[in-house]
Symmetry: C2
Subunit: 338 residues, 2 copies
DNA sequence: GTGAAAGCGCTAACAG
DNA sequence: CTGTTAGCGCTTTCAC
């Protein structure tokens, strides 16, 4: 038989409340989960007992029985990035508003052991799952599929999403920045991009676009992920000597752009007449800088809310639909740096 | 009897693996949890079956039975603040390294509904809990105590911690900044502080210290939490006219300090000769700024790791000790702004 | 080293 | 509207 409790923690359980209130355990369960199916009078008595005993329901037991954990798992690479922090914040807020707890996991950059991470999360039987990225290895895709729960992939596009998708087309975003510079008559370019796949996709979209239009790419160094201000300053230091005529610089993150602009100021390179700079992410940093700088704005909050909305719709029983795969829009916010 | 599964998700269970491997369910459980108590040969057979069937253990069931969830709950106000982001990152990393998943909850500033939040988390029967702040209302304290699990409070000090503590003395940090300015011969002061309790404690420590030394506090506006660069710029705009002689400005966050310094530059106020600025948090922003600015450094990473270490020690069965209540050190990092 | 039996605390389904 | 019954999938304990 099962051993004694490992400790005496909160041993008050549903049946204790039931006994105290003089009702069946099931009635207590109903008061907690479906109060409108209990007479107001009984409910009041039960609630008094709950209060008096300090009863905290055991959702582990409830989850085992009902096969619903009221919990969703979310995997993001980091929360140090304002975009993800904001997205996570809104995702968790929306989910909690609907009665779901979010179990957040930080995967770091590099995808090492993402399969184990997902397995560990699925072992907790979440009702749904959010994952960052849409380019998963086959075993991971399979595990996600076989879990039989709604899955939403965010922050990336894919021709073959596992299930739902709230993605951003990073290549297209980079290309848009290229077109933006080209429209200003700029013909020399540089790109600073972090090493992660999404940053590189933006960089590639950018360099491909400007080269196709006959532009020259002076440099496109790969910088460590996650991006830092320091990396931007250093990359700018290295680029400075190569600048001859007006150059369009695209940075895969506002952190890099901020560093680049700071370094340019120190070196007497004028922004925007000698160096035209566009960042990515629309962090507060860029808007309040002097000069405020141009950036690509992506609504992290909207990604979080949309992803949550998709999962909640499915969790409420709605079937899969065509429109639960969306690309989130981005827009170039033009400021004084270009 | 219980209904059919709500869905067909991953119906492969421990007993299926056992059947496939030709052993008892208990043996499969041992292979997963205590592999050294199973013969290598049997273990290999079981592992093959697990692999073949794609079995993912159900920790909900396991948790109900063993009364251990291998999960810890953590509550922080926000992850938008680099200090908390870093702390959370290291806390979760350390915990995961020891086999614990972290369930992160963001409480926002304002403490509204923190009791419900904690109740909801305890319903999941975490093995331990981290909470931010140490000044909790009585019902919350009681709930935490009665949960019977190790609790660590961080980021604040308290004469009466619920259990363990990894705290920072914010009043003392503010006072140290005051002393730092005073030692430079500064006699006029200002403080920009966010409205949250910790920021106000730092502000109070600062203003009390400088007033006690005969200094004058020109202004100490309360700004919205969380702190933004914009708020710092605006507060600086309002303060500018009042500056006469060299003034020491303490900001409760590097965000505010950054905004203040940017605004000062725009207004032709020289830093540090006319305005001496010290921030708080040691964000990358301050180190890379021109001029780099002085700040109070607190190791978020260390708080996270220490808190995790405390919980893990307790979880491994160690009793409460005197030294599981520590104050984390802070230090003033002097840079060009002072 | 391995197995069998007995629940962990809760809820689905059915009965009244 | 309320109660009864039978598990959810796993681990504890004890026996071999």
């Amino acid at each position: 038989m099962p051993g004694p409790a490992r400790d005496t923690r909160s041993s008050v359980k549903l049946s204790d409340v039931a006994a105290a209130a003089g009702v069946a355990p099931m009635t207590v369960s109903r008061v907690i989960n479906t109060p409108d199916r209990v007479s107001p009078h009984t409910a009041a008595r039960v609630r008094a007992a709950i209060e008096k005993l300090g009863y905290v329901p055991n959702m582990v037991a409830g989850g085992l029985s009902s096969r619903r954990s009221r919990m969703v798992a979310a995997i993001v690479p980091t929360i140090a990035h304002p975009m993800f922090a904001e997205m996570v914040q809104h995702f968790t807020d929306t989910m909690r508003g609907a009665g779901y707890q979010v179990m957040l996991s930080l995967s770091g950059y590099g995808d090492f052991g993402e399969l184990d991470l997902v397995r560990g999360l699925l072992a907790r039987r979440p009702d749904a799952m959010l994952v960052t990225g849409a380019d998963h290895a086959a075993p991971l895709r399979q595990m996600l599929t076989e879990a039989g729960i709604p899955v939403v992939e965010i922050w990336d596009v894919s021709p073959q999403p596992v299930d739902m998708l709230v993605g951003l087309d990073h290549v297209q975003a980079g290309a848009a920045v290229g077109a933006f510079f080209l429209a200003k008559g700029i013909r020399e370019f540089a790109a600073f991009a972090a090493s992660d796949a999404r940053a590189q996709a933006r960089r590639r979209g950018f360099t491909d676009a400007v080269r196709q239009a006959g532009g020259t790419v002076l440099a496109d160094p790969v910088l460590p992920a996650p991006s830092t201000i320091t990396a931007g300053r250093q990359a700018m230091g290295a680029l400075a000597a190569a600048l001859t005529c007006r150059t369009g610089l695209f940075c895969s993150s506002d952190m890099l752009a901020f560093g680049a602009i700071t370094e340019a100021r120190m070196r007497g390179i004028d922004v925007p007449s000698q160096l035209s700079v566009c960042g990515f992410g629309n962090f507060e940093l860029g808007a309040t800088n002097e000069p405020p700088f141009t950036t690509v704005s992506v609504e992290g909050a909207e990604i979080g809310r949309t992803a949550a909305g998709f999962l909640l719709r499915r969790l409420s029983g709605a079937p899969a639909r065509d429109d639960d795969r969306v690309h989130v829009p981005f827009r170039i916010v033009e400021r004084a740096s270009t």
